[in-house]
């Protein structure tokens, strides 16, 4: 019975991971190609993806590898670029509490993509939420590392022009956003976040707006809590 549930959970996780498999392919390969172009072979690309497992930071790391960036700068940039991850765990504190040591694996593997996959989990017959989370996280990590290593292997020998293929990530987030709007009783949080991020982007520029924008959104949500909370909760329980 338990084995059956684990098997079902794996199949369900695999199905749900396929769009991200497609989304990861161009990005992982692009990262591997970039790494090989600065002299780091496929093992370095695969290793970095497996250990760091944070897409946008890894692309920034390629520039760390090419010049004498101080290690303090590396740490500060890593913390700033990934600061949105400070918020991700909030959604799972209670869910992960009963998961034992697996909890740390799930936290370690919580990239943007696995976060969205975990957030969009809906209960279904015959699967276990815990195992779906574990398999989803592991699959995404394997995809990302394998594609990175593959990119390192093929290097610059790609027979077609890949310009623009990085748009896949934008498309993926757009689709996830639409899904969230359809599933949620209110799209107000999304509207606040878009207004706030466009505002911060215009004021602060493309490299520095992310954290201020998220902070501003959180401030708005806290101020409007009494009005918003009943609307958020009305869709569940």
């Amino acid at each position: 019975m338990k084995d059956q549930i684990i098997r079902n959970s794996f199949r369900y996780s695999f199905e749900r991971s396929l769009p991200i498999l497609i989304g990861f392919f161009p990005l992982g390969v692009a990262f591997g190609i970039l790494m090989s172009s600065v002299g780091y072979n496929f093992l370095w690309a695969g290793l970095t993806s497996l250990i760091v497992y944070a897409g946008s930071l890894q692309f920034l790391m390629v520039s760390f590898f090419t010049d004498e960036t101080s290690l303090v700068t590396v740490a500060v940039m890593a913390l700033l670029l990934n600061s949105r991850h400070l918020f991700y765990g909030l959604s799972f504190i209670e869910t992960f509490r009963t998961y034992g040591p697996w909890k740390y694996f799930l936290i370690y593997g919580m990239s943007d993509e696995s976060y969205t996959l975990l957030c969009s989990y809906k209960d279904r017959e015959g699967v276990s939420e815990k195992w779906v989370h574990i398999f989803s996280t592991a699959l995404l990590m394997i995809y990302w590392s394998s594609f990175s290593a593959l990119g390192g292997l093929i290097g610059t020998w790609i027979p077609f022009d890949t310009t623009g293929i990085d748009y896949a990530l934008t498309a993926l987030f757009t689709v996830i956003f639409i899904e969230q709007i359809k599933d949620s009783p209110t799209s107000f949080p999304g509207v606040v976040a878009i207004v706030s991020s466009v505002l911060c982007l215009l004021l602060l520029g493309p490299e520095h707006f992310l954290l201020p924008s998220l902070t501003l959104s959180v401030a708005v949500f806290i101020l409007m809590r009494s009005a918003l909370e009943p609307r958020i909760s009305s869709g569940e329980e």
Binding site: L71, Y88, T174, L201, S213, F221
Partner: protein, 109 residues
């Protein structure tokens, strides 16, 4: 390789530790006690806000001063959203939007 193996491994270790600490932070803060209602409320409301912010983040290099600076993104995002509203098939929407973007930046602009 421009840097030594030791220094390269050090960079990877620092980035990994910083990333993991940030992912772990909320769990360390509220790990063993009841999550305050305010935090639970934020946990419910934030996923949509974060994804919306990431969409804007992905499109942050848009430049409205020239056609080639925003038309490919605009059209590709319209195709992605349009396909998704019509068919609601994630794979189809992502592939359709990405192909549209690649064709536009490679052949048109």
């Amino acid at each position: 390789m421009p840097l030594s193996v030791t220094r390269s491994l050090l960079i990877i270790a620092i980035c990994a530790i910083c990333t993991f600490s940030e992912r772990l932070f909320p769990f360390l803060l509220f790990g063993n006690r009841k999550v305050p209602p305010l935090i639970r409320y934020l946990g419910k409301i934030l996923p949509m806000a974060v994804i919306a912010t990431l969409v804007v983040y992905c499109l942050r290099h848009i430049d409205v001063a020239s056609f080639s600076g925003f038309v490919p993104e605009l059209l590709a995002t319209a195709v992605t959203a349009g396909l998704h509203l019509l068919k609601r098939n994630t794979l189809l929407s992502v592939v359709g939007g990405t192909l549209t973007y690649m064709l536009l930046v490679q052949l048109v602009f």
